[in-house]
């Protein structure tokens, strides 16, 4: 395992620097995806006919391989982090929109009726009743989106070393040091699992009313 954390200087980042870069490239897109999908999902719940086309378009976008996405974007955003982050944000919509729509739709009608009877308007009813009840479903979607976003950043290596930890893969081949590739894969996987665990913790904190035992997803 010698040289495991010995990062070649052509990467211009330390080990922890690569981790920071990786998290930034993976998490900002998911956050952007969440900000877009919350109102989008709300529109889909409000106008039912909107959901199938939105779902169809996002699925087709999802099917475009990230590499092809990057190459098309290079013309507009250059070989930069932004080019890596835009496709990741688009991909996150595919998971987040259905998760939020399902979550908000799963609120029982009696609960909504009770909220209305207590005098809550549509906005407060959405923010104070529907959204909190949908939190488990939303977090479940966020977990899938975040984990896949973290694992996809590596592909950015192919467009001018924008893949953070993925850049180690290239160096592993150039310098014939397979341990760098192991480092890349293991660190990425550990990062994904840690962030996933963090999201589970957030769920537990946001939903104190849920039974603690036997909730797995």
């Amino acid at each position: 395992m010698s040289g495991f954390f010995d990062i070649p200087s052509d990467l211009q980042h330390s080990y922890s620097g690569l981790i920071g870069l990786h998290l930034r490239e993976a998490l900002i897109p998911v956050l952007a995806g969440l900000l877009v999908s919350l109102p989008l999902a709300q529109l889909c719940v409000r106008f039912r006919w909107l959901y199938p086309p939105v779902f169809g378009v996002t699925t087709v976008l999802y099917a475009i391989p990230s590499l092809a996405f990057f190459v098309v974007l290079i013309d507009y955003t250059g070989m930069t982090e932004t080019t890596v982050m835009i496709p990741l944000a688009v991909y996150s919509l595919v998971v987040l929109v259905p998760a939020i729509v399902d979550g908000v739709r799963s609120v029982p009608p009696e609960t909504l009726a009770a909220a209305t009877a207590m005098g809550l308007g549509p906005v407060r009813r959405y923010l104070q009743v529907q959204l909190p009840i949908a939190v488990p479903a939303i977090i479940a979607g966020l977990r899938v989106a975040t984990v896949s976003s973290i694992s996809l950043v590596s592909v950015g290596m192919l467009i001018g070393n924008q893949g953070a930890l993925g850049n180690l893969l290239n160096d592993a081949q150039i310098y014939h040091r397979p341990e760098l590739a192991v480092n890349s894969v293991v660190t990425t996987a550990v990062l994904a699992i840690l962030v996933d665990a963090l999201l589970v913790l957030v769920r537990l904190l946001l939903t104190p009313w849920m039974p603690r035992k036997g909730v797995t997803r």
Partner: protein, 222 residues
């Protein structure tokens, strides 16, 4: 130059229809890798998911395995396997299968777990063996969800199989990787269009299968 222009130029160019790099050849290769990976992933994920769902045990372990498998970066895994195992089909298949097993495993488990217990109890009361309960009662009712898990896996495989080209394999990724190095955007966009089209075709196939295979009674209920 816009994307549509590239698409037109790519498919209009006769050179893309002949020889080793012809579109039909690449599509067939891509299809073969994808089918192979999906078959292996289904052979692993379906039985495990269905049986654990039937007995209702090991859900936590499954969720853990699925999360761990999802956390593995496909591209990194490909390069790693390639450096360890050298050129071959195996380094390409491992990341694709690792990608496809979690959705199959988790959805088939959830599909069986979330069934209405009364028909299952009725089947047991009629004296069906556990295996027959699973195959003849639970599976048909859970089929729409099970199929949706397979569909997710299939679309992900089709889209990700492009990375196989990075380690010298064929498939539609060839156009994208070669186009990137040759700065031939027409090729890249053409390749991406073919992949997206294939993913759409996959969705269509699964839609047709669910029309054909799911019993009308179940469909009305769902």
């Amino acid at each position: 130059m816009n994307v549509l222009h590239f698409v037109q130029a790519f498919f209009g160019d006769g050179a893309h229809w002949h020889g080793q790099d012809a579109i039909p050849t690449r599509v067939t290769e891509h299809l073969l890798y994808s089918l192979e990976a999906l078959a292996v992933a289904a052979a692993i994920g379906l039985p495990v998911g269905l049986v654990t769902g039937h007995y209702g045990r090991g859900g936590n372990a499954l969720a853990l395995i699925a999360t761990a498998a999802r956390a593995l970066p496909s591209f990194g895994l490909l390069v790693l396997m390639f450096t360890w195992l050298g050129f071959g089909q195996l380094p390409v298949m491992i990341p694709l299968v690792a990608l496809a097993v979690p959705p199959i495993l988790v959805t088939s488990y959830e599909a069986i777990r979330s069934l209405d217990p009364s028909p299952v109890d009725a089947a047991r009361g009629m004296g069906m063996s556990e295996a027959r309960v699973l195959v003849q009662v639970e599976l048909p009712v859970a089929l729409p969800l099970v199929l949706s898990g397979l569909r997710t896996a299939a679309v992900q495989i089709v889209s990700t199989a492009t990375i196989a080209a990075y380690v010298g394999f064929g498939g539609l990724g060839r156009y994208i990787i070669d186009g990137l190095y040759q700065k031939d955007y027409e090729k890249v966009v053409g390749g991406a269009t073919l992949v997206a089209g294939m993913a759409l075709a996959t969705l269509l196939v699964f839609w047709a299968v669910s029309r054909f295979a799911v019993s009308p009674g179940v469909r009305r209920g769902g």
